[in-house]
Symmetry: C2
């Protein structure tokens, strides 16, 4: 994943953060991404049958260009009923009015901001009354803080402002070319709890100055979410609020992109994938209570679906995750997780590696297996598990972390 | 579940236990159930795609009557390859020879015991070399200890001899009638880790003196496993060694049973269900690190499958289980788990209760909801969660326990 990267300016995007006093201790808990000239955008949302009010709001938005994304933490606005939805409507009206006023002051050609140009991301506790009034009274401050040039500090503030039980802000960036135009792709994310992919997982936001039509953005996002945000799991729980969005301000003035197979998009798509994967890995690595980052590659399967089933069966097994927390090379639990995944296999074709250490070869404990050596490997912070079914050519890699006492501590005491 | 019940004699069954020194500290780790005149039997096994060598052995047994069941702990004999299977063959030969000798001494009409009259249950670590020699050298002691009258002490010793990380031995009994014959149904079980139902879960053994043909025993067991052993989960992990068996010595000499719908079987089936449920609940209640026992009833669904999906989605959610460990009435996490189960529902028909406390009514937070009252309810050792979908007539109840730091402690340090 590498170290922190410094994100700088993206033309057409303004970021502001403030505290709406949603926590007992004062911290930034309200973040706005403002697109003064609008942005094309694409979103993927949770596939849970019970979704938060902000996801409902966003799904009802038909504007092709978005003017602002508002993110609050501490309260998920889920299971808050009609009142929760109405709160968003009121906030969207207030924000759009204030932004319209600002357009009149700042812009040569001001455009009216409508409430349907605003989308929301919420994260926090489910079922508590949505703190509309607190957020409402913080809107003026949020708008006052809008600056038209971004720097690494405001990106870091935004990345910290959207965290809940996360410990580490999550930022990633790539640069690429579309034709001869240099393009920026910047992203940030939060994760930590209820992290298991089902379409999109957790909150992730990616911004680019590229000029790409909405329908192609949506296809790009859907295509590249499978092996990034949909390949991570912390605890197997899926939130009511999951959302990953991609915004394009168009300010790079690259040549027109007409379809997803356009050769000019190749470099952009690769960079987009890298940003999404980088963010997704950071979410997994910072999963609640994590002490180790685990990569589980399952290869040579009959289908990607089979590979994914086995990979997640291992990644979601509390027995595997606790063994890794204990630095115990208890490979028997991997075998158990492969077995319970309900994927047909040929035992005499099965290979298992921990990093470069061979554990199982052709369905038997490897002759080179030396428990002491492997126990030593388990002391690493990054653990690689490679399963080879030897009966096909498809693969899937998932990312997760270990299960520690800290996870229990965090989650048995979340709301107090 | 009630208190311990005292199990006494079942005609035709002998129990003996010994230590084969499979653990560092001396304890009973080898248990034999011996049927001097044989027993009809039925078994259900794990549905994992990777099964232990003893499950393979048992599946190959075609004898209609079984003479002995041998249970060892500490080693699962899973992923031990041909050597693991061969070890069982050698042990079965040794045991059958020794039992044949005993028949010659003790019985008026001695019958030869064949190695194919012996079945095995193994539980413990996967992938370690099966301790054939240690077990072999303990067989004489196991056979020397055979007594033809059982009492509560030997049942308790057997129940303790099959435990691994369980804390509490699990015994249950019922009495019933078939025609005018009084019938005993006694059972014991072990659980604790890798507990999630997929056909059969964990080890469970039920013994009766009833005379019931093998094919009817098998049907009775299959039918009654769904809402008992297949309704519990501790950690969502499925073992390679799961096995629940039912043995009938026939010594009660009840009138002949010709089919499963025989009216004379009604009382027997009810008692069998009670014994299985009693044992299964004890397994869940004693799940690794458990401090609370949780019952999750999901009712008024379109199908039992839907009800089961939701019930297990709640029961296997680490966020639900940690909240309950923390005595936090965080019902939002129940809503999350209902949502992620992928079952279609009508939100305005949804009801949720914690015990008798109404949480959600018609999809809204109940007006009578008082967090303090419910927080007080969460201090109970037994927590009941009732979900009502209001769109059908089917239901399913699952049983589990909370997720505590102790679980992590046990499982990150299992093998040391």
């Amino acid at each position: 994943m590498g170290h922190f990267q410094d994100l700088e300016h993206i033309d057409g995007l303004s970021i502001s953060t403030t505290s709406a006093n949603l926590y007992k201790t004062r911290r930034d808990d309200l973040v706005m991404f403002y697109f003064r000239d609008g942005a094309n955008y694409a979103s993927v949302y949770t596939q849970s049958k019970i979704v938060s009010e902000n996801i409902k709001w966003n799904r009802n938005i038909s504007s092709k260009k978005i003017k602002a994304l508002i993110i609050n933490t501490r309260n998920a606005n889920a299971f808050t009923g009609k009142e929760g939805y109405k709160s968003l409507k009121i906030l969207a009206e207030e924000i759009s009015n204030k932004l319209s006023e600002k357009q009149n002051i700042d812009e040569e050609k001001p455009s009216k901001v409508k409430s349907s140009d605003i989308i929301f991301a919420c994260t926090g506790t489910i079922g508590e009354k949505f703190p509309k009034d607190k957020i409402s009274s913080s809107i003026p401050d949020l708008i006052k803080k809008i600056k038209y040039t971004q720097n690494k500090y405001i990106w870091m503030k935004a990345a910290m402002g959207i965290l809940t039980t996360d410990l580490i802000p999550k930022l990633a960036m790539e640069e690429c070319f579309i034709g001869n135009k240099k393009i920026k792709i910047y992203g940030l994310a939060k994760g930590s709890g209820m992290i298991y992919p089902n379409m999109a997982t957790t909150l992730g936001f990616v911004f680019t100055d590229a000029s790409i039509p909405t329908n192609i953005l949506q296809k790009l996002l859907k295509k590249n979410i499978t092996n990034t945000f949909n390949a991570i799991t912390c605890d197997g729980d899926t939130s009511t609020n999951d959302m990953v969005s991609l915004f394009a301000t168009g300010k790079a003035n690259n040549s027109e992109i007409k379809n997803i197979n356009d050769q000019k998009l190749k470099s952009f798509e690769k960079s987009l994938f890298n940003v999404l994967l980088n963010l997704a890995k950071r979410v997994a690595a910072d999963g609640e209570g994590a002490s180790k980052f685990i990569t589980i590659k399952v290869k040579n399967c009959k289908s990607e679906k089979d590979a994914k089933k086995i990979s997640f069966s291992i990644a979601n097994s509390p027995l595997v995750k606790t063994a890794i927390a204990g630095e115990d090379p208890n490979w028997g639990r991997i075998v158990m997780a492969i077995g319970k995944s309900n994927v047909s296999l040929k035992l005499n074709k099965l290979f298992l590696n921990f990093g470069s250490y061979k554990i199982i070869e052709n369905g038997n404990l490897s002759k080179s297996y030396d428990e002491k050596e492997v126990a030593n490997y388990m002391k690493n912070e990054n653990i690689d598990i490679i399963v080879d079914l030897g009966i096909g050519i498809k693969e899937f890699t998932s990312y997760t972390m270990d299960l520690t006492k800290k996870y229990i501590e965090i989650n048995s005491d979340y709301r107090s």
